[in-house]
Amino acid sequence: MLTLSTQLNTYLIIGAVLFGFGIMGLVRRPTLIGMLIAAELVLSGASINFMAFNHFLAPDPTIGQIMTLFIMAIAAAEASIAMSIVICVYRNYKAIEVEELVELKG
């Protein structure tokens, strides 16, 4: 139990659990901001996998860290764009619940 931090499988399972929580939040949350929070969880699950493979299996241990840094940059860009879209939608509809945003529904 105390040597869990030296095994690859621990990190893979934690990453998978975070990914599962992210998917669960994406399905369950009724608002755009809640879904954005869940998407961040999915991204961090992926980052944990990259870092674990980087530490245990990669011959060049910088490649996974660089990939994680790029994921962070993309996640920051995604969060800012999503936030501005949310603000814009709120201005037009006075709501950010996805069930209210049905103007394009056929």
């Binding site: 931090s5 990914f19 998917i23 901001i33 954005l36 944990i48 980087n54 936030m83 814009c88």
Partner: protein
């Protein structure tokens, strides 16, 4: 190889278990609390736990970046969004009732179980040698030599994201 509780390895194992518990607890709060403000706080807690995991994976630099970018920037941006859009999820969450929660739990559980099973059952090849130690200096060297093109492209993506966010959120400001 089973360290006692009070040896240095045992204590680091205890700290690792605490970090994992913080991560999972933060994820639970982030996905299942009824108020969005609490869910953002849970997200911040979860990211702090993930930074601890990166620390255990021998990467001080990425752990610090995780704290700076995710906890410091992304969570604050989401908190501002919540304050500006004042969403109220409580009514909808209780209206849609138990079926939605159970369904989402089943879907998330299937995803997590499948990924964990695939990862733990696979046979991974351990490398014969490592060509560097993965320290901060090595990260800097390969960022500015091997991956310099991607590095520049990411900075362009960030610039485009900033300008795009400003352009989207600016329009229609003085109409209402």
């Amino acid at each position: 190889m089973n360290p006692t509780l009070l040896s240095p390895e045992g204590l680091s194992g205890v700290i690792f278990l605490v970090v994992v518990a913080v991560t999972i607890l933060g994820a639970v709060i982030a996905t299942s609390s009824r108020r969005l403000v609490r869910s953002v706080s849970g997200l911040a807690v979860c990211f702090m736990g993930v930074a601890g995991l990166y620390f255990f994976l021998n990467s001080m630099f990425v752990a610090m970046m995780q704290l700076l970018i995710y906890v410091g920037a992304v969570c604050i941006v989401i908190a501002f969004g919540i304050m500006l859009a004042e969403p109220d999820e409580r009514k909808q969450l209780s209206e849609r009732g138990g079926l939605n929660g159970i369904l989402s739990l089943v879907i998330g559980g299937i995803c997590a179980w499948g990924l964990a099973a695939a990862g733990t059952n696979a046979h991974w090849m351990t490398p014969a040698t490592k060509i560097n130690s993965g320290s901060m200096k090595d990260i800097g060297m390969s960022l500015l030599t091997t991956y310099s093109m991607v590095f520049e492209l990411v900075s362009i993506v960030l610039l485009v994201a900033i300008i795009g966010a400003l352009a989207i959120a600016r329009t229609g400001r003085d109409k209402s």
